[in-house]
Symmetry: C2
Subunit: 146 residues, 2 copies
């Protein structure tokens, strides 16, 4: 898959799922986001989310894993300059089962570097209740076909 | 620290630093972002960044750690709805030393929930060369003073 293979179109739901593991939630948060509602199940029960929830950055990482495995070209990826409008509209809890939906919004050749193009992809994670728990617009540079 | 203590003002550079560790870069990417330029130093040397670089989501996690430790109130944080204009303007490599700069852009009481307010904070990571390697605008809900 190269830049030319990514064209704006209908949303795609990808088949793989990730089940959110409580130990992984706590270990991620102990390293990167040690707020009590991410690391302490007992304190979290009395907190703003009535239970332990994943750090939003952990959820972003889970999205990236599904995105790298099922959407982003291994041959053509040249990294990404950023992400816009990242939102966590609902909590992610241990036991949740997440899947990825992608929709290419825009694909344009680079003006300065003719070996690549830039795509903008709306990216969502849905849980087992079909609730959107993460969304953003990802930017990716992709090599053109050699 | 409560919502009332976060007011728009001058940028603040925070003292703590994190040194990026190559093993941590690879382990994070093996779990969340297994692109070769994040997990394989030899292949990465011939890749688009001429060497191994951290996953952008790892960099985001390092930002969150510095932000949670030095900026975000432990008592008053009520989570965050999202992030805007996230950018990775320069690569993060093993050995880099990162520090945090924050600037509160906006602080407004919630209209629907009088117990809290929303702040918008421009957040940057700088490396040992004073290069900005990560920036975004973070949204946070904070409890008002009891």
């Amino acid at each position: 898959m190269y830049f030319e293979d990514y064209q704006p179109g209908a949303p795609v739901e990808h088949p793989a799922t990730i089940t959110v593991d409580q130990t992984a939630v706590i270990e991620f948060a102990e390293e990167f986001d040690p707020q009590y509602f991410h690391v302490d199940p007992e304190a979290a029960a009395d907190g703003p989310f009535q239970g332990l929830i994943a750090s939003g950055w952990h959820t972003a990482g889970l999205m990236m894993r599904l995105y790298a495995d099922q959407f982003l070209s291994k041959e053509a990826s040249l990294g990404g300059p950023g992400v816009d409008e990242l939102r966590w509209p609902a909590p992610v809890r241990p036991g949740d089962v997440l899947r990825l939906r992608t929709e290419v919004l825009e694909a344009r050749p680079s003006r300065s570097k003719p070996d690549r193009g830039l795509i903008r992809t709306r990216t969502e994670l849905l849980n087992q209740h079909d609730t959107i728990v993460f969304s953003c617009e990802v930017l990716n540079f992709l090599a053109v076909r050699p």
